[in-house]
Symmetry: C2
Subunit: 339 residues, 2 copies
Amino acid sequence: MKGKATSFDIAHYAGVSQSTVSRALRNSPLVNEETRRRVHEVAKQLNYKVDKNASNLRTQQSSTLALLLFEDPTSDESQINPFFLAMLGSITRACAKEGYDLLVSFQSSSSDWQADYEDSHRADGLILLGYGDYLDYQPKFKTLIDQHTKFVCWGASVDNRPDLTVSCDNYGGGKLAAEHLLATGRTDCAFIGDASDHSPEFFARYQGFKDAFLAKGVALNERKMANAISTEESGYHATRSLIANNIRFNSLFAASDLIAIGAIRALKEAKIKVPDDVHVVGFDNIAVASFVNPPLTTVQQDTTLAGQMLVDNLLKLIRGEDVKNTLLPPRLIIRGSSV
Amino acid sequence: MKGKATSFDIAHYAGVSQSTVSRALRNSPLVNEETRRRVHEVAKQLNYKVDKNASNLRTQQSSTLALLLFEDPTSDESQINPFFLAMLGSITRACAKEGYDLLVSFQSSSSDWQADYEDSHRADGLILLGYGDYLDYQPKFKTLIDQHTKFVCWGASVDNRPDLTVSCDNYGGGKLAAEHLLATGRTDCAFIGDASDHSPEFFARYQGFKDAFLAKGVALNERKMANAISTEESGYHATRSLIANNIRFNSLFAASDLIAIGAIRALKEAKIKVPDDVHVVGFDNIAVASFVNPPLTTVQQDTTLAGQMLVDNLLKLIRGEDVKNTLLPPRLIIRGSSV
DNA sequence: TGATATTATGACACCGGTGTCAGATTAGGA
DNA sequence: TCCTAATCTGACACCGGTGTCATAATATCA
């Protein structure tokens, strides 16, 4: 046998027509039990596998989803945000569970990442994942919608289509962090992140945080804020600049764990003790969080559930079913950095 | 325009035949420059994308590689070894660079992971990645070879086909670790890992380590070894059992960073100070390593290069070119856990 | 001007399945 | 025994491209 076996080969050996082979292998009720058995038998012997290209071509669907991970262009090429890596793991598993394959692709946010996966019938739908400047993305989202591309999005809200977004309740998560700091009596708080509409996720975290403070009659000092993207480096520099400007605080809320870890490094360097002098709370609960010193108090996003929801919603979209706006509950994980 | 545009639509609007469209879009020298331009023009307007299924079906290749990540079944479902996540990142990038798509799939090592990707023409070749008991895999490797499946493997050596393996020089890495500990004067060393042929990577690390000690006339004490798989938990328990058995040592070499991190936890718990009482060296240089307390001295595997080599070798294999056995140089990263 | 080479294009088979339709065979009922 | 229904199977068109071959149109040269 040279080359791979085709359904015609099976047909030949099983003494039936190719049509029957196709039906038998898909367990169509139309074929006789005995025939079905024989066909399966031969197929197994010849190690036959359906040619997905042919099958997909005919049925016009691919049983494949594509994950586009777009990263902040300023972040280091070699280091991928561990939070997304965790998401990737759960998405992969969720896909497998649903019988879908997963194409993975990293995109720099500048490039033409509406990519051709769906248009070229490589994938039935897209999952978009990434931090970064969402204003850049809105026009691309629009293009996708115009082209009727099926996609879901982590975190980023898509104008007029909240059903396309799966997100952690960032606002609620920010509140959790605030209430925790308030409970420990640390009301003089700094915020490191990006409280603009360029990063809606960070912004929502900040809003929730601020509102929880306001509810207790404590106003956040706008000066005690510094911008940072979600990298350790960025968190480090932002915090250093606060310290350099002689800004004082006894607690710090970072918009992500990576930022928090960078912040802790800056604090340590300035001989400011965590948690004694400053309580630190992060966001994400990446794997590293429990290993840093001190272990990081953080708001957990349930990546397993998130991956599952992304896949579920996308499949519903593909099947034309109704999809609801999806918000996942955050959970506070208290560790040494804040007690 | 209902549905996606096909090459016939382009042909219609450009006033040429479908054949010419196909040629023009692939920039065949056979088509007239003016025609080519017009066809591209129309294609762009209709947002036409080549149907990969049709194209792949005809050309009998997919421009896709599949990454099969098989994990130790005992490891926690939700936590993926960060080392592999890093590899995944670099493999993805390497694929993109070569113009290949990447299918990602997690396999539990028990399942039928010779998977159908290649047989079903979903992928042109496989990349296998995973820790675990390699004896389990050998028969599966054999099946793959028998079926002429193109694949490469990280770490695991495939009998008689060393060209199919890309690996870090684990033996050399073990030596690096040993020489470092010897240089710091800590010759009474424990080893946590698996020094059997069930995990050839760990075994090689141990061998290199042992040989370097022997070269200095120091023999390792066989009793100061404990088995562990590559998880924090496992490293923790293995180290605890050594301590519980009253086994003393002033340095410790862990077969992987995760194990080392678990070991440090066990040591701390037993009030044994790192690095004062015990120097610890790990292997992998996962992202966490620099954040633990104390920062972990470790042997770095260059994941970027590794991913690139895996992809390069696999593509060579697919193209029928000659592939050499590939061994990547390790590098010692000295941090606080051993000085 | 006629013969030949060159260039550009269209017609058509083909890749390997899936779905439809028609027809053969057997069973069931009168 | 004949007719209709139920069951099973094969022939065939089709999905949307790619590659081969034939041929028309134009250029080249004697």
